[in-house]
């Protein structure tokens, strides 16, 4: 049958694709060839033995694939990197020490002093600190814009702009980033869009499929899911052309010009699809060193295995709580994009059809004291500064993270004196509702 079509057998007329829930369990991993271990082993080793000197030189010079030293790559971390890439529909990823390290690595891979970023002003406080206070010391400036105002994004772009950056869901108003529109704007200017997808995870939204070019996570949150590790993941979408004539050409010399720090490698020539990722690993992780520990990678992998199940339960519980709060007399407002009155409701229906995640904010009628009394009356919700735990969490910004901020400045930041942020966990929803009901009653008596 030498003349029969050999690219396909008759029944294979549909593409072979592996679905999300299966990828969450298997992508990047296989039974350990050395021991048969089914779980991904924790390769708790700083370095890896060379077969001989030629092998060593080939590994260092990117002539062979493999691991040299765990700051650069590690087999356990590599499984996690493949898994998040598969789930995000990217070409590859780098596991780093934290979400902040991921943001930093993305920025320093793309630009240096004299560069400029346009960012949503509805950012996690740590990201805002890096952009607004720290990076200017290194010559990188940021203009913050209303994430809903595409004209503001456009107006803020300068000749020195190298990146647009936002979060899938803003903080604390849960503004939904219009990824298709902002990405289109970015690409019109030859710029990439970086998205922090921590709140949504790839289970709810895959920004790369809507036009984003780079995605990162604080894997500390929903990906690991149990509040036991600090880690970050930076994913390269592989679609952005870093050297497009008339658009991006000339803007990203770190990727398009010879790099003396690695044998004059020109990263866009070395890899057509993963030039960013290559530079981030060959320079950023090598020199800045914010790598992930293999034990951390293992714990995040364990979390991702149940990500689909957990995100379903997170979202179901959140919907019940949103409905309860929206109808409560002591609650002034609830910010959750599934609510019809949320400004981004229609956009959320398009981008987040499976749900808007498990973080919401609401405002209690009254003063800071009412908010403080509410938080301190909760028994199941834990009062702390984190989100994305299996356990339900709460924070009252006006009495904690923003307690020195005046009421007027709070309002400017979109935070009321009674604003409460919840991260809804996996407990029985009835217990959570009872906890909230009890605390609201106590707050009402303040």
């Amino acid at each position: 049958m030498a003349d029969a079509p050999i690219h396909v057998v008759p029944t294979m007329t549909k593409p072979k694709t592996t679905r999300f829930d299966t990828l969450a369990l298997h992508a990047g991993a296989r039974p350990d060839p050395a021991t048969g271990a089914r779980a991904t082993p924790i390769y708790q080793s700083a370095s890896f033995v060379f077969r001989d000197s030629d092998h060593a030189a080939a590994l260092f010079n990117m002539e062979r694939a493999g691991h040299v030293y765990s700051r650069l790559s590690n087999p356990t971390c590599a499984v996690l990197e493949e898994r998040i890439s598969a789930l995000e529909d990217g070409v590859g990823a780098i596991a780093v020490a934290s979400g902040q390290a991921a943001l930093h690595l993305a920025i320093v891979t793309l630009m240096g002093a004299g560069s400029h970023i346009v960012a949503s002003r509805a950012l996690y406080g740590g990201s805002h600190n890096l952009l607004d206070f720290t990076l200017p010391r290194f010559g990188i400036q940021t203009t913050f814009v209303d994430p809903r105002d595409v004209d503001a994004w456009r107006a803020a772009i300068r000749p020195s702009t190298r990146l647009l950056f936002g979060e899938t869901l803003g903080n604390p108003g849960l503004e939904v980033l219009d990824i298709p529109r902002v990405a289109q704007l970015a690409h019109e200017h030859g710029l990439p869009l970086l998205v922090d997808s921590t709140f949504t995870t790839p289970y709810l939204l895959r920004p790369l499929q809507y036009g984003a070019d780079l995605v990162y996570h604080s894997a500390t949150k929903f990906l690991s899911g149990h509040g036991v590790v600090i880690g970050g993941l930076l994913v390269d979408g592989g679609r952005f052309d870093w050297d497009e004539p008339g658009k991006s050409a000339g803007k990203f010399p770190t990727l398009t010009e010879p790099y003396a720090g690695f044998h004059d490698m020109v990263f866009v020539e070395e890899s057509t699809t993963a030039a960013f990722l290559l530079r981030a690993r060959r320079e950023g992780i090598r020199d800045f060193g914010a790598c992930m520990a293999p034990m951390t990678a293992f714990q995040i992998l364990q979390g991702i295995e149940t990500l689909p199940l957990r995100m379903q339960r997170h979202t179901e519980n959140t919907r019940k709580i949103v409905a309860f709060l929206a109808a409560h007399a002591l609650v002034e407002s609830v910010a959750y994009p599934e609510l019809p009155q949320h400004p981004d409701h229609e956009l959320a229906q398009r981008l987040l059809p499976q749900g808007c995640g498990a973080v919401l904010s609401f405002s209690i009628r009254g003063t800071r004291e009412h908010g403080r009394r509410f938080v301190e009356s909760l028994r199941i919700f834990s009062h702390l500064a984190n989100v994305g735990d299996a356990k339900s969490l709460v924070i009252h910004p006006a009495s904690t993270t923003h307690f020195r901020v005046s009421a007027a400045d709070l309002r400017a930041a979109g935070i009321g004196e009674g604003t409460i942020r919840l991260s809804v966990g996996l407990e029985d929803a009835e217990d959570l509702l009872e906890d909230l009901s009890r605390a609201l009653y106590a707050a009402g008596k303040a």
Binding site: A4, A29, E81, G238
Partner: protein
């Protein structure tokens, strides 16, 4: 590096190494809707071990100008014109899939140009199914999905990339997505219509190496014997548990086979 062939600008990856006329040259030729970057590891090794390396982008692919060529024969003529333009003595030709056919055609009809040929994932003939051709003709994303689904062994569909941090299925998909409209169809049609493989094989005068993937669904190893038999001096390596994406799925096995087949010249200028 860049040069001009038939008036068009051509890109060839050299691992940022300067061309040295004293050294033997390896020319790598990629497959359908791909480019030089599929050879990054292997090309880089030889560039730092006493060879000139030219991992070319075929016309209309990657960084080379022009439209994709309509036939394997035309691509072989273009490749020979490139060798002529660079005044190269006989070179080692290393091709994958479509690139293997191009290397075979060039070496078979112009044996004086080839010192060795290495054919990865070859099949003669290389017919393409109607469903894939139809999807490629329509520039339907289905074509990329079908190829990606068939190009990796079942085990590698779920990853396990020797290259840390790279999701090889996604990377392969993205590389094809970046090809220009019509390129994949032109390439597949060229494979489909190529009928001169066994004649070309009979004309090859240099040593040949065939590297086959045990789990290759695109160009199954069972379809290679006629080609191998037609080559006068052909050694064969079948890579276990490997699909069609040999350089990605088994980069070390491919490199080791090429290294054994293409021994270092007497005065290597290894400079790692």
């Amino acid at each position: 590096m860049r040069c001009a062939v038939n008036g068009g600008s051509v890109y060839a990856y050299t691992a940022a190494r300067r061309f040295d006329a004293r050294l033997p040259t390896l020319v790598f030729v990629h497959g359908a809707a791909q480019d030089h970057s599929v050879w990054a590891l292997q090309a880089r090794y030889f560039a730092y071990h006493g060879r000139n390396v030219l991992a070319v982008d075929l016309p209309g692919h990657g960084r080379t100008d022009g439209d994709p060529l309509a036939s394997v024969e035309a691509s072989a003529q273009w490749l020979l014109a490139l060798l002529e333009e660079l005044h190269l003595p006989p070179v080692a030709l290393v091709g994958h899939s479509l690139g293997a056919l191009v290397a075979l055609e060039a070496a078979g009809h112009h044996p004086q140009r080839a010192a060795q040929i290495a054919l990865l994932g070859p099949a003669v003939p290389m017919p393409v199914s109607d469903v894939l051709l139809d999807a490629a003709r329509a520039n339907d994303h289905l074509a990329y999905e079908l190829i990606t689904g068939w190009s990796f062994s079942a085990g590698h569909q779920l990853g396990g990339n020797p290259q840390p941090g790279v999701w090889m299925v996604g990377n392969a998909m993205r590389l094809m997505e970046r090809s220009r409209p019509g390129v994949l169809y032109a390439d597949l049609l060229a494979c489909h219509r190529y009928a001169g493989g066994l004649v070309a094989a009979a004309g090859v005068r240099c040593p040949a190496l065939a590297i086959l993937g045990e789990r290759d669904l695109m160009a199954p190893a069972k379809n290679a014997p006629a080609l191998i038999a037609a080559l006068a001096d052909c050694s064969v390596l079948t890579v276990a548990e490997c699909g069609h994406s040999l350089m990605t799925e088994a980069p070390d096995a491919v490199l080791d086979a090429l290294r054994d087949f293409l021994p270092l010249p007497p005065s290597p200028q290894s400079s790692t």
